[in-house]
């Protein structure tokens, strides 16, 4: 019983870690950009 619970915790932790890393480095949800430099740019690029 203890072994099964421990394995459930391990695989849950692994899933959370993998999802976190994938979201961090591979697939990042795009945020809406609300700030712009206007139509002519501000010369900062």
């Amino acid at each position: 019983m203890n072994g099964i619970i421990q394995n459930i915790f391990v695989f849950s932790s692994l899933t959370i870690a993998v999802v976190f890393l994938v979201r961090k480095f591979v697939w990042t949800p795009k945020k809406k950009t609300t700030k712009t430099c206007g139509s002519n740019d501000c010369g900062c690029h």
Binding site: N2, G3, I5, Q6, N7, F9, V10, S13, L14, I16, A17, V18, F20, L21, K24, F25, K31, K32, T33, T34, K35, C37, G38, S39, N40, D41, C42, G43, C44, H45
Partner: protein
């Protein structure tokens, strides 16, 4: 009066804006980014008299409302957009008592936006040194506002400022300059076309290319009843506006400010003569650097040993107390060991940021920028490139973003491309652990060999940045204008509160930023090192017991052999062996190979990875350093981390890109994948070749 009000702190750079922000908010502050862009946003809360709460926002330093950078455009966009949740109920303009004339320009512009504005004259403790006296009543009358004369250093005047903020509704919103003074006919036309709008706001929309409310620049251009002017004519009007504003400021100061040079007791000129001298300046800078690196080593050894032992004990305690099983092993060998590999470096990181904060706060860093400009120009960079290169010692990401104030695109691109060579704080854990393993502890003229090696690595990073800038300057055929302006703030004794908050903030972001990644990678690595495919992994106990049946091994030795066999045939062992042929010529084994690959997420992951892998493979040694020191080279015998492989690793990390986030930021700043891919390829190739040569020479 509302229970919560928005207060915007606005002012030129180096006016002590952050000190005022810290004095008002204390520890009730948070740092984030503006939505969608990477300009830093500092917010905090301050309790005012009569139970009113002020939400204070520290806006990026700006000289005027004529934006020339993304940071400055943030200020204008907020001040023009009444619908923004941060739109200020009251603006607090911070000025420096020694630079009132220049600092008042932005005050007049903000006042003209019809926002209640308080003027803060900061650094009042410097008035006696400079022979400055102010007639506050006259200044208040001329500027049509309330003035708080404060000294954050002496903690004077902050309560008065809080009172003024809480009474902001009594402030006048009459403009300083009438738009009619700029051009009567033009503004009459504008008023006719947009009768319900503030003329100065419209003028900013036209000239700054920002939008406010529902009115965009194009809407104004497309309005048939109003004919705007050519860009060159608008520029001429802008110049006229600036001249009019300075005429107004001159008149105000003539009435309210007197400067008696005879009573001034200024050391600044004498100090500048020495600190920016073409020989003494560099010598003093060199001595300061040496002292910093020596102190980092000497002061942090005790807390580091304490942390290392604490994590080792915690890991043992977890293993001995919790029920035996896979999750207990994950906690003890994966998570605690992996986190221990990063937390151990808190003392050294904190000391590094402490010194950088003290140098910045004292005003010395600007002298370094000026000093280095002489060298930088020869390599195709400007003095402004020094700021990113120095802030690159903390992290390449904000450093690359700091290149935005370099006006020349060629200089900016070169700075972006070479900044990752400078030794960032993520390299520090790698350097420190390898140096402690392979460099002897002796001293040379009171300076330890280990501190000297660390300083040499910083110089190698800086040299690589400057050298590659020189090459890029020759190769890149981009035409651009070059000029360099730097402001030299006055020398000041650093404020303890500012330094402490900087150290706290930077160390926190280092630990929590990298900590989450290291935690996740530690879990994945532990899993890959603790599970494996096939019979070699699953039947490890039988195979090893049978293999060593005739060797009379003790129980501990046999368990060690089983753990080692399992690790070799685990998922991570198989992957490590696959890349081993590529890294063997550099003196690394497959475990180091895995650490290098995983540290592409962030360099400091290298130490955490080794801590996790060695923790799974060995129960003999408790601390990370001891585990690494006990590793044996599987082919040559002897310690795996010896002088040859150690120097090879140090040089590899000195030159390698090894940071995904930096690649992403370079892509964003250059708006192209070409530059980051080129950067990654070249830096990795240099790192590999240099590490190869070093190992082959030293082995």
């Amino acid at each position: 009066m509302p229970k919560q009000i928005n207060v915007a702190l606005i002012g030129n750079p180096n006016t002590g804006k952050t000190s005022v922000f810290n004095a008002l908010t204390g520890l009730n502050q948070k740092v984030g980014n503006y939505p969608g862009i990477t300009v830093e946003k500092k917010e905090g809360v301050c309790k005012l008299p009569r139970g009113v709460k002020a939400h204070i926002i520290d806006l990026p330093g700006t000289y005027s409302l004529n934006a020339s950078s993304l940071d400055e455009s943030v200020v204008i966009e907020l001040l023009l957009n009444k619908n923004d949740k941060d739109y200020p109920d009251v603006a607090v303009v911070i000025t420096d008592v020694e630079n009132l004339k220049r600092n008042l320009l932005i005050y007049t512009q903000i006042k003209d936006l019809e926002i209640p504005t308080i003027l803060v004259i900061n650094m009042s403790d410097r008035m006696a040194y400079k022979g400055i006296s102010l007639d506050i009543e006259k200044l208040e009358a001329q500027l049509d506002t309330k003035i708080a004369l404060i000294s954050t250093r002496k903690k004077q005047g902050v309560d008065n400022l809080k009172d003024l903020i809480s009474n902001y509704q009594n402030l006048s919103i009459e403009p300083c300059l009438s738009t009619q003074d700029i051009d009567i006919d033009y503004f009459k036309g504008l008023k006719k076309a947009f009768p319900n709008q503030s003329l100065y706001k419209l003028w900013l929309v036209i000239t700054q290319d920002v939008n406010f409310g529902k009115i965009s620049r194009n809407t104004i251009k497309d309005t048939s009843s109003f004919k705007t002017k050519k860009d060159s004519d608008l520029k001429r009007l802008q110049q006229k506006e600036t001249i009019k504003r300075y005429q107004f400021i001159n008149n105000v100061l003539k009435e309210g400010q007197t400067i008696d040079l005879k009573t001034a007791k200024d050391l600044r000129i004498k100090l500048d003569r020495i600190l920016t001298h073409k020989v003494w300046g560099y010598l003093i800078f060199g001595i300061i650097l040496l002292t910093i690196f020596q102190a980092i080593y000497d002061w942090s050894s005790v807390p580091m040993d304490f942390i290392d032992n604490a994590f080792a004990s915690l890991s043992d305690w977890t293993k001995n107390t919790l029920p035996a099983g896979a999750f207990t092993n994950l906690l003890a060998e994966g998570i605690i060991s992996g986190l221990g590999g990063i937390v151990i470096f808190i003392p050294q990181i904190a000391f590094l940021f402490l010194f950088i904060a003290v140098l910045e706060e004292s005003g010395y860093m600007s002298r370094v920028v000026f000093l280095m400009d002489r060298i930088m120009r020869r390599f195709g960079l400007s003095g402004k490139s020094v700021v990113p290169l120095i802030s690159g010692t903390a992290c390449a990401i904000p450093a690359i973003m700091a290149t935005r104030n370099i006006e020349s695109w060629k200089e900016r691109l070169i700075t972006i491309l070479v900044t990752p060579f400078t030794t960032c704080s993520a390299r520090l854990p790698v350097y420190l652990i390898i140096i402690s393993l392979v460099i002897p502890e002796g001293r040379f003229f009171g300076l330890s060999y280990q501190a000297l090696t660390l300083m040499l690595l910083y110089l190698i990073g800086f040299g690589a940045a400057v050298g590659s800038a020189w090459i890029l300057n020759k190769i890149l055929k981009i035409k651009s204008r070059k000029f360099f302006v730097v402001e030299m703030p006055n020398y000041k004794l650093p404020l303890f509160k500012n330094v402490a908050l900087t150290v706290l903030e930077k160390t926190k972001s280092f630990i929590f930023g990298a900590g989450k990644i290291i935690l996740a990678i530690s879990i994945v690595l532990w899993f890959l090192a603790s599970y494996g495919p096939g019979t070699e992994f699953n039947n490890a106990e039988e195979i090893v017991t049978e293999q060593y049946a005739s060797n009379n091994l003790s129980q501990i030795e046999l368990e060690q052999k089983i753990a080692s066999h399992k690790l070799e045939h685990s998922f991570i062992g198989i992957a490590g062996h696959a890349i081993e042929p590529a890294i063997r010529p550099l003196g690394y084994d497959w475990k180091i190979g895995i650490a290098i690959v995983s540290s592409f997420a962030a360099r400091e992951v290298f130490v955490g990875t080794l801590a996790t892998i060695y923790s799974v493979g060995s129960d003999q040694e408790a601390t990370i350093k001891n585990r690494m020191a006990a590793e044996v080279n599987p082919i040559l015998g002897g310690p795996l981390f010896n002088l040859a492989s150690g120097i090879s690793l140090l040089l590899f990390y000195a030159f390698a890109m090894q940071c995904m986030s930096t690649l992403a930021i370079v892509k964003r700043e250059t708006n192209s994948w070409k530059w980051p891919i080129l950067q990654l390829t070249i830096m990795t190739a240099i790192a590999y070749i240099v590490a190869l040569i070093a190992y082959q020479f030293l082995k």
